[in-house]
């Protein structure tokens, strides 16, 4: 890697990387901490239709600017559908239709001027099944910056890749085999690679659709640790089947049932003092 040659280790042993010039580095310096007070997303009467059937029946919800918001609920309750509203991935499904307002920083993301391609650069996504590209680890992470033209030089691209992998907690495991295929990693490593890939585009929001459902408990623990770190910098929405996971990683939890938002509150309140009977039944394991 080019970076390794230009980095300096100071006499007192502190590693001091030489930062390449370019947009990403400039932006990273300037990047302001998210304003926790303001909502990132505001949803009003969001309905999603698959053909004639309505999957979501008018959701009103605000998503906080920082921290982790968990969406829980039984299978088929519409939580994944709701998640895919935020990066307009529902657009790729034929016959799917979204109505209502979804405002991101006050701007309607379904507005006519909004390009879903750019929106998806701002709102990253991690899927249920790890889906690294069948390319090298380096190319996986570099793909997003490349298509958006974020790096002006190879050294800047190296820098982005390294930083993203470090932030995803994968760097130490893969730094010596960046040229090897991303599909050769273990499931947990693949999922962290996919997160690094999403981070590399410098998104503001990361959507996670049951990211740990294909992982073993140890990989899940690592992933949850990572989510905990990432929540400082990104607005994270996570769909999960595991209530324990929602309790561990999220600050706010929304309970969905049959296409309705039943209850939305601080995670602690939801799990200790649910107001709705359906929520109580679900979290105590009586339904679901």
């Amino acid at each position: 890697m080019v970076m390794a040659e230009t980095n300096v280790v100071r006499a007192d042993g502190i590693f001091q990387p030489v930062l390449p010039k370019g947009d990403v580095v400039d932006m990273a310096k300037k990047r302001r901490e998210p304003d926790a007070e303001k909502a990132k997303f505001a949803c009003r009467d969001v309905r999603v239709f698959y053909g004639a059937s309505e999957a979501l029946h008018g959701i009103d919800m605000e998503i906080a600017n920082s921290g982790v918001t968990a969406l829980i609920g039984p299978s088929g309750c519409g939580k994944s559908t709701f998640l895919r509203v935020f990066n307009r991935m529902n657009d790729t499904i034929p016959n799917a239709r979204v109505t209502g307002d979804i405002l991101m920083d006050g701007e309607d993301i379904y507005g006519k001027k909004v390009d879903p391609v750019l929106l998806r650069a701002r709102v990253g996504m991690v899927f249920q099944k790890p889906n690294p590209f069948p390319k090298s680890i380096y190319d996986n992470v570099a793909y997003g910056p490349r298509i958006h033209g974020l790096a002006v030089s190879n050294s800047e691209l190296d820098y982005i890749v390294e930083k993203s992998l470090k932030r995803a907690g994968l760097w130490d495991e893969v730094k010596d085999r960046l040229k090897e295929s991303g599909t050769g990693l273990s499931g947990g490593q693949q999922q962290r690679l996919v997160i690094a890939r999403a981070i590399a585009v410098s998104p503001e929001v990361i959507l996670m659709d049951e990211p740990a459902s294909a992982l073993d408990p140890i990989a899940t623990a690592k992933l949850e640790e990572l989510i905990d770190e990432l929540k400082e910098k990104y607005c994270i929405l996570i769909v999960t089947h595991s209530m324990a996971q929602a309790a561990r990683v999220s600050q706010r939890t929304a309970f969905f049932h049959l296409g309705d938002l039943v209850e939305y509150d601080d995670t602690q309140s939801i799990f200790t003092n649910p107001k709705d009977q359906r929520t109580q039944d679900y979290i105590t394991g009586r339904t679901g």
């Binding site: 889906n131 793909y143 295929s181 599909t183 890939r197």
Partner: protein
């Protein structure tokens, strides 16, 4: 007896189980039988082809002392190349073989003697040598000239020596001469290079497949250049970008049906469109290639669409979620991942085109072409057409050459398919 009765342990349950096992066993046996039958037929085909074809790979040649008589070839002494080309080399060969058997004097006997060597083969060989080097005139050369196809067939054991003389193409006297020459080593068998380097000929002993192979390769190159980019492009567009409506459904149905259209119809289309309407040259590899391209287009399109469809949608979701546009997702991920399948489909389509005869007949590639084509618009034949032509010829010697040409064609096809498999596994391993 067990402690409690289960319905899975009763006598009727045992019967049900026996029946089920029997059905499964029968199915497996049918499968095995089908495989064995296919192997037997394949072995049969191979044995019969190789059995009749291998003899075409060697050929009998006769060593002759040829005196290039100046009095016959160049009475004026000018050594003019043009005159030499027209000179009577037939007489030179005749004299050479008469000199070998001085005891033969009767005219009909002499004529029979001359028929031991390939009349035009030996004559042309000497003519070309003298034309290339006029200084040879007046000298005596020791040459190896091809024997006639009848002598060759006799020595290969295809002519029954015990049959009545009138029913074979070679007389008792000729057999005596040939056996004598064979015994002295003057007639020897050698590897039949002519078969690989020669072009089509009226004389089996001089015929080769080089012209047809070159014609086939040219047509195939044209077909590849036209049908693969067009087919892959059409498939990518139809699969990824075309709107889904009745019109595209109609196109899709037509493409699928096109794959089942008899190939001779494509030949008729080529005749009507390329030859009659556009006025392209007859018998040309260019037109042959275009017709074959039309014929393989549906195969390439169908294979490409199947390959595109088999790419995991999760990869595309991943690309889209990073902010790749649909076009980028398709060209950065879907097409590269489908490449092994596309490649396999294309090569198999090409192999299919290589073996195709019927459409080429319609556009005149069935012509008797005695030169290796030098360009895409020159008259040419193709290997399967050559096989078709030879299989129709009367002389016994064509049979072995037909089989040998089929062996060559099959080997090329097997090689192409092996290449397809190799490339597919090779490319897939990278991912």
């Amino acid at each position: 007896m067990s402690a409690f009765e289960s319905i899975h342990q009763s006598d009727r349950a045992v019967k049900r189980m026996t029946r089920r096992r029997g059905q499964e066993l029968r199915f497996r046996l049918f499968g095995l039988g089908a495989v064995i039958a296919a192997m037997v037929v394949l072995a049969w085909l191979t044995i019969s082809l190789v059995g009749t074809g291998y003899t075409a790979f060697y050929q009998h040649h006769m060593t002759l002392e040829v005196f290039l008589d100046e009095a016959v070839l160049d009475p004026t002494g000018e050594r003019n190349a043009e005159n030499l080309r027209k000179a009577n080399f037939r007489k030179i060969i005749q004299e050479a073989i008469y000199a070998r058997f001085p005891e033969v004097s009767e005219r009909r006997q002499k004529s029979a003697l001359f028929k031991i060597v390939s009349a035009s083969g030996a004559t042309n060989q000497v003519r070309q040598m003298a034309y290339a080097n006029p200084a040879l005139v007046g000298r005596t050369l020791t040459l190896s000239v091809p024997t006639s196809d009848d002598v060759d067939q006799l020595l290969k054991g295809y002519i029954d020596r015990d049959a009545p003389e009138k029913r074979r193409k070679i007389s008792n006297q000729q057999i005596v001469w040939v056996d004598a020459l064979k015994a002295t080593g003057e007639i020897k068998s050698q590897f039949n290079w002519t078969f690989f380097t020669g072009v089509d000929s009226r004389d089996p002993e001089l015929a080769g497949i080089a012209g047809a192979v070159v014609g086939s390769l040219m047509a195939l190159a044209v077909a590849f250049v036209v049908s693969v980019p067009a087919g892959v492009g059409a498939a990518v567009y139809l699969e990824e970008f075309a709107p889904q409506n009745r019109f595209t459904d109609f196109i899709e149905i037509n493409i699928n049906n096109l794959a089942a259209v008899p190939s001779i119809v494509f030949g008729l289309l080529g005749l009507a469109v390329f030859l009659n309407f556009f006025g392209m040259p007859r018998s040309a590899p260019l037109v042959g290639g275009l017709v074959l391209a039309l014929m393989t287009l549906p195969t390439v399109i169908i294979a490409t669409r199947a390959a595109l469809r088999s790419v995991s949608p999760s990869i595309i979701d991943g690309a889209l979620s990073l902010g790749a546009s649909h076009t980028q997702a398709v060209f950065h991920h879907k097409v590269p991942l489908a490449a092994p399948g596309i490649l396999t489909g294309s090569i198999i389509g090409m192999a299919q085109a290589l073996g195709e005869t019927a459409p080429l007949l319609m556009i005149g590639m069935v012509a008797f072409v005695t030169e290796i084509p030098s360009g895409l618009t020159e008259p040419a034949s193709a290997l399967p057409v050559q096989i078709f032509l030879w299989s129709d010829s009367a002389e016994r010697a064509w049979a072995e050459r037909t089989s040998a040409a089929i062996i060559v064609l099959l080997m090329v096809l097997v090689t192409m398919n092996a290449l397809a498999i190799f490339l597919r596994t090779r490319l897939e391993r990278r991912w």
